[in-house]
């Protein structure tokens, strides 16, 4: 059964409709990527899943409809979001940011262990643990955003442009960590990326969005092989 099943998803900002009946699904344990040009509705789709925009349509997570729930309750079901713009708590320390990620968890000892695990993934964050998070570099804040989301021990991780503002080497490192987390901890991921080549490398499945609709879907390999996609998004 699909972990996430979306049918006929509509979303709008005020009077502007951004999504026009999106259908897609995500298998438990998989990494699925949403591709598309700027303005295709990728970020809005992630925001719609967390009830951060006005939506209509059927969203099911683990079989349960979540379309009418509040953001805080959706998070409690195990969906973590690495938002566009990173969402750093700028005046709090790095470690406080990480602890907030585990705010809904009651298993304190496991939280401490996870904190260490994040510092293991991103040693830079350990160096900056007592520093105000707003003073971190863009790349460090992106690592912090991913770690903060992982601190929830999510079933599903929503990633909005995790490579944004990162040096190529750091992107490679980050994607490697995402793959590890997916394989070892079975965290499912829905990835939105500008960097289509890297996203397709990591993901099992891909959906191509154009102006709020799905125009193409398939396994990453098929999509990589699609001539139109190659020309428009991969650039070779």
């Amino acid at each position: 059964m699909a972990l996430l099943d979306v049918k006929g998803l509509h979303a709008s900002y005020g009077a502007t409709r951004v999504l026009h009946g999106l259908d897609f699904s995500l298998d438990e344990g998989s990494i699925t990527t949403l591709l598309g040009a700027n303005g295709a509705g990728k970020t809005t789709t992630l925001r719609a899943l967390c009830a951060m925009v006005k939506t209509a349509g059927d969203i099911r997570f683990g079989g349960e409809p979540i379309g009418a729930r509040a953001t805080e309750d959706i998070v409690r079901m195990g969906i973590a979001h690495v938002p566009d713009g990173r969402g750093t708590f700028a005046n709090l320390t790095t470690e406080e940011n990480l602890r907030l990620g585990a705010y809904t968890r009651k298993d304190r000892q496991a939280v401490e262990a996870d904190l260490e695990r994040m510092y293991g993934y991103f040693p830079r964050l350990r160096e900056r643990r007592a520093q105000q998070a707003g003073t971190l570099s863009g790349g460090e804040q992106q690592m912090l955003a991913v770690s903060r989301a992982l601190m929830l021990r999510p079933r599903l991780l929503l990633l909005d442009e995790p490579s944004f503002g990162l040096a190529p080497l750091v992107v490679k490192e980050l994607f490697g960590i995402l793959r590890t987390v997916n394989e070892k901890e079975k965290v499912s991921m829905l990835l939105v990326e500008q960097n289509a080549a890297m996203a397709l490398d990591l993901a099992d499945r891909a959906y191509l969005l154009e102006t709020g609709r799905v125009v193409l879907s398939g396994s990453s390999r098929d999509i990589q092989g699609d001539d139109a996609v190659r020309r428009s998004y991969l650039g070779y």
């Binding site: 951060m52 509040a70 998070v75 700028a90 005046n91 709090l92």
Partner: protein, 293 residues
């Protein structure tokens, strides 16, 4: 300086610290609500006044001071939460001016309600501190209220700095969207903030009432000093507000006693408010906000 004037100055400074602690508490309450709403709660003083009347009722009903004190703090907390849920929440997204009008409405309503229930006759209010605290420099009440203030401020600091709930409240005030994304119920955190601010006000009210006596208008001047303190320290800086409170208390007393006389004391607060706004709008410890347009 002769020994006599030195002693008089010392006395005024310590008395200033006693009232300053009360300004500091109220200023802190103002800052807490400012951080969450970006608005100054003009009704903060009247909320404290109303709580102090509740304490008076408990005392009159035969409760001991400590039970009456604790019940009043609890009442203050609930009052704050209820006001946020019922009155402030509906205007959350309203224009600034609407919210300010709501604050002023609250001020007038609480003031009239207290007058209607308890009349405008000035009532004495007891100090709980024993004569044993008396010393050559300070009265028992001055020393006692400084201690109470310090305990309250320390507890708050520990709460916000070291508990998950305190952390969540700070997070909710500064970044509501990210807070929701980690599962924090932001609406309740704001209500909790109002509750805490109101409870702090209740303590401040009970500490100042033995000095200024109990009447529905008792907090007018006090709130003005608290505004001055919050602005002086920086309206978005809790530590600054506390420092500002003590500083304003000392300034008020020393200037009142030696320079301008008691009649002009309140003017000190007004001069400070205007001075800070003109010279350094962000206060001594406030963050300077720069935004690109």
């Amino acid at each position: 300086m002769t020994r006599g004037t030195m002693e008089a100055l010392m006395h005024q400074v310590l008395a200033g610290l006693a009232t300053g602690g009360i300004y500091a508490s109220l200023a802190l309450a103002l800052v807490m609500i400012y951080q969450a709403t970006h608005l100054v709660n003009f009704a903060q003083g009247e909320m404290a006044m109303f709580c102090t009347y509740i304490a008076w009722s408990f005392l009159n009903a035969g409760f001991g001071y400590l039970p009456a004190f604790l019940l009043t703090v609890a009442f203050g907390f609930v009052l704050g939460v209820v006001i946020e849920r019922v009155v402030i929440r509906p205007v959350e997204r309203a224009p600034v001016l609407s919210v300010v009008v709501v604050f002023i409405g609250l001020l007038v309503i609480l003031n009239s309600l207290a007058g209607w229930i308890y009349t405008y006759t000035i009532k004495p209010f007891p100090s709980p501190f024993p004569e044993a605290l008396a010393n050559p420099l300070m009265s028992p009440h001055e020393l006692g209220s400084i201690l109470v203030t310090l305990v309250v401020l320390t507890l708050l600091f520990l709460f916000f700095r070291f508990t998950p709930l305190g952390l969540a409240m700070r997070a909710a005030a500064q970044n509501p969207e990210s807070s929701r994304l980690v599962g924090i119920r932001v609406g309740w955190m704001l209500a909790l903030g109002w509750g805490l601010a109101s409870a702090i006000g209740a303590v401040a009210g009970m500490m100042i009432a033995p000095v200024v006596y109990l009447d529905p208008n008792m907090m007018g001047g006090i709130l003005l000093y608290a505004f001055a303190a919050a602005l002086l320290g920086g309206i978005d800086s809790p530590g600054g507000a506390v420092f500002g409170g003590f500083l304003v208390g000392v300034l008020e007393n020393v200037l009142g006693a030696f320079v301008i006389g008691n009649e002009l004391k309140l003017a000190v607060a007004l001069v400070l408010i205007i001075g800070v706004l003109v010279v350094r709008p962000s206060g001594l410890f406030g963050r300077v906000h720069v935004s690109r347009v």
